[in-house]
């Protein structure tokens, strides 16, 4: 984590970039909104992965699920968009509490597999209960309504709403991970038994982190559904869970701002590659970039920078534990 004055500076620079993004030539407004939503979900993901070491392979559960709940709420008479967002967030909150209660006692591969399996249950629910979810077509957002007299139908107005929400949510996330609670999380990540032996209820601490992460991911996902005026089946698919993991690691696990930058790079790369002759086969490039990051730059972009600038900085997953000797 980049803390203190330096952290505030990085945050301010990112916010400034966010404020001018719609005016950058060549940037489509919906692309800009998507980018901010993914930046927020990457932050949410990093609160969990970076500060508890738990790798969820099911964050599409909250991201996509909250999107469905928000859009379905709108179609069923919730005319206030913020209220629909809230419905999505509440869903993500309760769902993450439930899933967390089942999963946080496990770690490593088991945790990844459980979260993946539960996310698949929701995926098939969204696919099969067509009357409720629209099945393969997804569920359209009929209206985004107005807020403070401004029409949210205007994509630029909507962008700044998303940016404001994402900024506040990120500030909350930063506050949490730099708090004493965040310090305990990091201690637990480094040595769970020692944290237990000095009296911390590690399962509850992890559950809290999981709920914070899931709820923020739901917030980002509900905003994303609004941006595209659609809760789509893609958003609850396991490939999306994988994309969230990729953005976070690309930017740098445990650096909070890193995953935001990772999400921005990921989205931009995806966008530019889709304009090349290989068209929608962007996964070739994304997969190669991700493989290279995993093989030679596991700290991610911001993590590597921090490592070079401040060699003493403690980053998660930096130790090399022998699993199977070469």
């Amino acid at each position: 984590m980049i803390a203190g004055r330096r952290g505030a500076l990085v945050g301010a620079v990112l916010l400034a970039l966010g404020l001018v993004l719609p005016f950058v030539p060549g940037v489509y407004i919906v692309f800009a909104i998507d980018l901010v939503c993914f930046a927020l979900v990457a932050v949410a993901f990093d609160v969990l992965l970076g500060f508890t070491g738990l790798l969820s392979f099911g964050h599409a559960l909250f991201w996509g699920g909250a999107g469905y709940v928000a859009t379905i709420a709108i179609a069923h008479g919730v005319t206030s968009f913020p209220l629909a967002l809230l419905a999505g967030v509440v869903y993500a909150f309760f769902l993450s509490a439930l899933v967390g209660a089942i999963s946080v006692r496990r770690s490593g591969i088991y945790f990844a597999m459980i979260t993946l399996a539960i996310a698949e249950i929701q995926y098939f629910f969204a696919l099969q209960f067509i009357d409720l979810t629209g099945g393969e077509n997804g569920y359209p957002v009929t209206t985004r309504g107005t807020l403070f007299g401004l029409s949210l139908e205007d994509d630029h107005v909507y962008y700044y709403l998303v940016l404001a929400v994402a900024t506040i949510a990120t500030a909350v996330a930063v506050r949490i991970v730099t708090s004493p609670y965040g310090a305990v999380l990091a201690a637990m990540r480094e040595n769970e038994n020692r944290a237990k032996s000095i009296g911390y209820d590690t399962d509850r601490l992890k559950l809290a982190a999981f709920v914070i992460s899931g709820t923020l991911a739901g917030l980002a996902g509900a905003l994303y559904a609004g941006a595209n005026r659609l809760a789509s089946l893609d958003a609850v698919d396991w490939h999306t869970s994988g994309a969230i993991v990729m953005m976070t690691i690309l930017g740098g696990i445990g650096t909070i701002y890193g995953p935001m930058i990772g999400a921005g790079l990921f989205q931009s790369l995806d966008f530019f590659v889709s304009k090349t002759p290989i068209g929608d086969k962007t996964n070739i490039v994304m997969g190669l970039v991700f493989a290279i990051i995993i093989l030679i730059a596991r700290r991610g972009i911001v993590g590597e920078l921090m490592h070079r600038l401040r060699p003493g900085a403690v980053l998660p997953f930096d130790d090399e534990q022998p699993i199977l000797e070469p």
Binding site: M113, I114, A117, I121, F124, W238, I284, G287, A291, L324
Partner: protein, 295 residues
Amino acid sequence: MPHVSADYLLIQIFNGLVNGGFYALLALGLSIIFGMLRIVNFAHGVMYMLGAFVAYYGAQLIHLPFFAALIVAPIVVGAFGLAIEVTLLRRLYNLDPLYNLLLTFAIVLVVEDVMRLAAGALGSPYETPGILAGATNLGFTEYPTYRLFVIVVCLIVCAAVYVGIERSRLGARIRAATEKPQLTRAFGIDTSRLVSGTFAFGAALAALAGVLAAPNTNVSPTMGDAVIINTFAIVVIGGLGSILGSVVAGFALGIIAAVGAVLYPPIANTLIFIVMVLVILFRPAGLFGTPERSA
């Protein structure tokens, strides 16, 4: 509950056995790989898909018969798996196993899109071999001969692999290297060759499943996606790394899902995951797993 005739239920149980055979074959490969390398191999579905494509292109380009494809595809895909293990996976064995899970995820993204570029996204049918076309009378119904063939092949291969690992000298070395890699090396056994061989063998098993699936399904770049997550769940249910567990869980879940679908159709796709969550809650190490494996 809808009224279900006994014959119809029996047919569904046979259908469940067919699906279960695929699950068992895939879970078996995934499980041996996990046991030896501690990798949850996302690319296992890709190996399955590539196996089907080897059969498909073999038939298109050189009129490779189905029965030859059953041998050729596992060899080709096994070699591909070997190349991946030696050039990529090997670099990460000293790290948290999650990194290798993520690397295999990256491999899925790249290989699937390469196949989409090469073969198109829609997929193609693969003809059922003539000798296995048609139906066989089982007494209560006429059942497609090819599906019976799949059940038999899956049972034979699973049994052979199980016996091979439990009874043969090589199997003993593999088990030793799985349990205590350092000690096994101290006895002068080259474990890194065993590791490579195990990964290649697991990939070959997935490719065999892919060839068997080809006449039954559409050969497409995403066909592995449809089975890999189910297979993960089955391996977890059986107990990560347990060979017997993955085979038993594969067949059992195939049947449970098929029967479940008769009683309540929408549950067909989710039943496996529900069972997995229940197993994790009440028996975290899986049905046949040893508790210390569950971290």
